[in-house]
Symmetry: C2
């Protein structure tokens, strides 16, 4: 506990609560585990991180963003497999009736690894709990037999109780079920990607860990549809030489967490990653995290073992970030979902989810056909000859031939067909293309976890002061505007500057309360990259100082030039020293 | 039906579906009423409208945006009154078992007004249905007695079935329950506002009408907290002379829809609107709608009659927009929620929701006090004298005095106190301020309805072509980039231009499919304000044409100047003609 009291998790949680980044929801009613409310700074930070996802995936890569509902009819999650698979093992204390995740108890109390626990059946979990003598952490009581608890929020849609609906545990299904329309919007061309950022719900049994495990959270799912036979991945030109730090399943099976550092191209060549699109997205995810302030060396991608993977995945990597309290935590998942989801929805809905893809040029293909010989059929079958002729044309040529070979005849229902009745020949058909269900790789980010790691990595202490060194393009507030003192016309002048910036869509804050030193300290703690101070010189010559949050250095510049300079600075076109003339202290 | 087939609602719905703005969700499973999915263009349009709300309320007015969960424990909605009040009258067909909104049936079948129906009790609804002989619209069957249906989505939180939770029907409660923290974030000063934009859920009995009545929708709730005794509203400086078109409750009671056109100041002076903040927000809401493309004359504010208002409201206006199919529809609600919600949460949670506000200078107040006279009490009450003296000090001086007057003594529990035992005097107390629960006005916008009216008002037909004339700052795609023909190096050059724009965070689309005329037509229908065309001249001199969606006029400008010009154009700093040299046709 003492160690924990000092760790960054506690520091961040306390800071987040005090400065209004986020806190547990419904505190006045005692709080509800697994729900957080983002205050002003937190909501902005989260939005800016999501904006970054949009810049990278939507604006630059041309992935289409959609917005689908959170509530879906049960049929969707029956098809997707979630009703069968989205369950966790639960035990109930026989004494105090509290309920717990059986696997988490084993991890925490008996110190078993998550990976080892994940493969246990209910029966095996029971045995393990008994073997390690795990008791109720609340009252020391014994447990019931483990059973599965469906971790989706259940409700009914409309006034009929049989119309069961669920809160979506992922945003992916809202994309898969609309595949036909989305494919049309992509002008019926592969590959294409669709993103959805929105709230998702997982009815966790007993969540803790702040932003790390929530019952309601924001997910950013990207479903990227491609032709599995087309190995060309245009993203590799850009990211093929990026390095990835991988922990492979084969290492994990040896009990090792050895990190293999390879380029994207090598990872593909060595077969570490099955699909090139997936490898490319992993490299992009790595760069994204770097832009949020997490160095490459504090990131890794861990391959999931077969029993750790979701039911729809053929290969999965978790992007993990090292954090002080919890060690490595997942911030994004990269799953090769194959054609699993589209196939399931095709089966359950009867809608054809296949696409047709033209070959570059039509392919000539030899095909065996059975042709009826009417001059022989007519005399034998008389008035039914026409009907039989038609049936012969539809028969399977291979079967007919095999039957002739084995028995000397072929039975077409009750009609005995002899070799002389037909002619078996080959003809050349032209195939224009092929029909198939696209495959999918899915990069999936957890917004809340991105917020958490961004906060932890932005946290610095400088001369006993807390500074949140957010990268400038995601800082919740961009500029603080301060009159040096709150008299002699300085506040009025400062408000003018503030209004100018606000009208230029710069996220600015005006603050005149307390000494300028205290205001700078408050701004550093809120992670405001720049402070613009209006002083007595401003009144004379319309210049202001700009102060850098991280170095506390100052430059002086004219008010007129401010908006354009700031726009360029926040679009990363110029650096701090380009904002004006250095002020010597 | 024939008339409907031609109306704008159908045209917009068809266009929205075809171009991927939005469509009914889960179509492959037959669709579910009340749920829509926004495709690429629709999601962007909706985001841009929400961005506009943020620009106006967060950036310019300094309102704090927060993000709270959608699921809340039942206690929240018991306190807020929703569990008791958020109900609709429902009838079931005794024959086919279909369920309907009793009030909607009366409006549609018996042509009663919504306002008249809204005040009927269940018993009266029953009588009205019988009187007007309303039968099941599906099978003609008779109805059950009307009963109330709770239109919140119900679920359980965690593994205990008694932990009931609801999907929020409004975003407001997520703000109210966090009032103490938010007040702290506002540095304990009134007034301040908090906004939340997010999904909300209303389990409508039988929703129709596309985006107009949804079970899952996006709401933008602003709760503005103020001191009801402080009549100073700084927003009036800016919007006091704006005109509002009001339909007052008193007109409606006379059966009239007469529009009173007054300035904000007049509306306040005449007592049409009770709270100045509310009037100011109504003016801002009007300007917002104008910026979305809806002329002032197609907007009005309709005051709700007492029985039409939500349970928490003392005065409510609906901002309505005229649409082709439905006539006037609500796009935002403006409710004076008083201290209702904070008071309820104070009662239910025991948390003090009052704020303390200093007077400008302390106020001296005369106060009557009762002082025990020990020399008289001691001899009479002996050892209990001390205790009685204390009780006397805590007694209500007015009550004591009145009792002396009426009866000549005062009973303090079982002790009889005579006038000689006490001294009643006055003292002067200094009051520093007062403690009170802030009042609230709430502007509340429906994002989906804003999307719908924006689309309907953007719709034009020009030379037989559909043009969506979105205001340039909310258009989903800002710029189309086109090679004149798809050969001779033009596509390569066009892709360079496209990449430059994309890297400048301009929402651009590249299109080389089909004739340039067809591409322009496609872009007009998607509402893309500008088209940049790369032609043979571009190869020679690095200039391009820019085409205006609405006038189809063209200017020519250099590629180098393009990013800055476009930034200025979309920030509304310059007009189309400033983008280059007019091209004469």
């Amino acid at each position: 506990m003492n160690k924990q009291a000092q760790d960054k998790f506690n520091i961040i949680i306390e800071l987040a609560r005090r400065r209004g980044f986020f806190w547990q929801s419904y505190e006045i009613y005692g709080g509800v585990s697994g729900f957080v409310t983002y205050g002003f700074l937190g909501a902005k930070l989260k939005q800016n991180i999501e904006k970054k996802l949009r810049e990278i995936f939507v604006n630059k890569l041309g992935i289409m963003e959609i917005e689908a509902p959170i509530i879906a009819p049960s049929r969707i999650f029956e098809a997707s497999g979630h009703v069968d698979h989205f369950k966790e093992p639960m035990v109930e204390c026989l004494k105090c009736k509290k309920r717990f995740r059986a696997d988490h108890l084993l991890e925490e109390t008996a110190k078993l690894s998550a990976s080892d626990v994940e493969k246990l059946s209910l029966e095996e979990l029971k045995e393990a709990l008994e073997k390690h003598n795990v008791r109720c952490p609340e009252c020391g009581g014994n447990f019931s037999n483990p059973k599965h608890f469906l971790t989706m929020f259940k409700t009914t849609i409309g006034p009929y109780s049989r119309a069961v609906g669920y809160g979506r545990p992922e945003a992916a299904q809202g994309i898969f079920v609309e595949f036909r329309r989305l494919y049309e919007m992509a002008r019926e061309k592969l590959p294409f990607g669709v993103m959805q950022i929105g709230h998702a719900l997982r009815n966790e049994i007993s969540p803790r860990q702040g932003l790390i495990r929530l019952r309601e959270f924001t997910i950013a799912d990207i479903e990227f549809f491609f032709d599995p036979k087309d190995t060309n991945c245009f993203l590799l030109q850009e990211v093929g030489d990026e390095t990835l730090r991988l922990v492979l399943a084969e290492s994990k099976l040896r009990g090792s967490e050895e990190i293999v550092e390879v380029t994207v191209k090598e990872a593909l060549k060595n077969g570490y990653i099955k699909v090139s699109w997936q490898a490319a997205f992993m490299a992009i995810a790595k760069s994204l995290l770097i832009e949020l302030g997490i160095p490459a060396n504090n990131q890794r991608f861990v391959e999931k073992l077969p029993w750790e993977r979701a039911h729809y995945s053929l290969q999965s990597f978790d992007q993990e970030v090292y954090v002080d309290r919890w060690g490595w935590i997942e911030v994004s998942g990269h799953a090769y979902r194959t054609d699993y989801d589209l196939k399931q929805h095709m089966d359950f809905s009867g809608t054809d989810m296949r696409v047709f893809k033209d070959y570059e040029k039509p392919v000539a293909r030899e095909k065996k056909i059975v042709k009826p010989v009417m001059t022989k059929l007519g005399p034998v079958f008389k008035s039914t000859a026409q009907k039989i002729a038609k049936m012969i044309s539809e028969a399977n040529p291979e079967e007919v031939e095999a039957s002739f070979k084995a028995r000397g005849y072929y039975m077409l229902g009750n009609y005995k067909i002899l070799p002389e009745h037909v002619e078996i020949t080959t003809c050349t058909l032209e195939e224009r293309g092929r029909r198939f269900i696209p495959h999918v790789v899915e990069p999936s980010f957890g917004s809340d976890r991105l917020v958490y790691v961004t906060l932890e990595y932005a946290y610095r202490v400088k001369s006993d002061r807390v500074v949140l060194s957010f990268p400038r393009d995601i800082a919740p507030i961009q500029v603080g505007v301060y009159p040096l003192v709150s008299r002699d016309g300085l506040p009025e002048k400062a408000l003018q500057v503030y209004n100018t910036l606000v009208n230029e869509d710069i996220a600015a804050e005006y603050d005149e309360a307390g000494s300028i030193g205290r205001r700078y300290a408050r701004a550093d703690e809120a992670g405001i990259p720049l402070g613009v101070t209006i002083d007595y010189e401003t009144i004379k010559d319309d210049t202001v100082t700009i102060r850098d949050r991280d170095t506390w250095r100052q430059v002086r510049t004219s008010i007129d030039a401010l908006p354009e300079l700031l726009h360029k600075y926040f679009r990363k076109k110029i650096e701090f020293d380009d904002l004006g003339t250095i002020v010597k202290k």
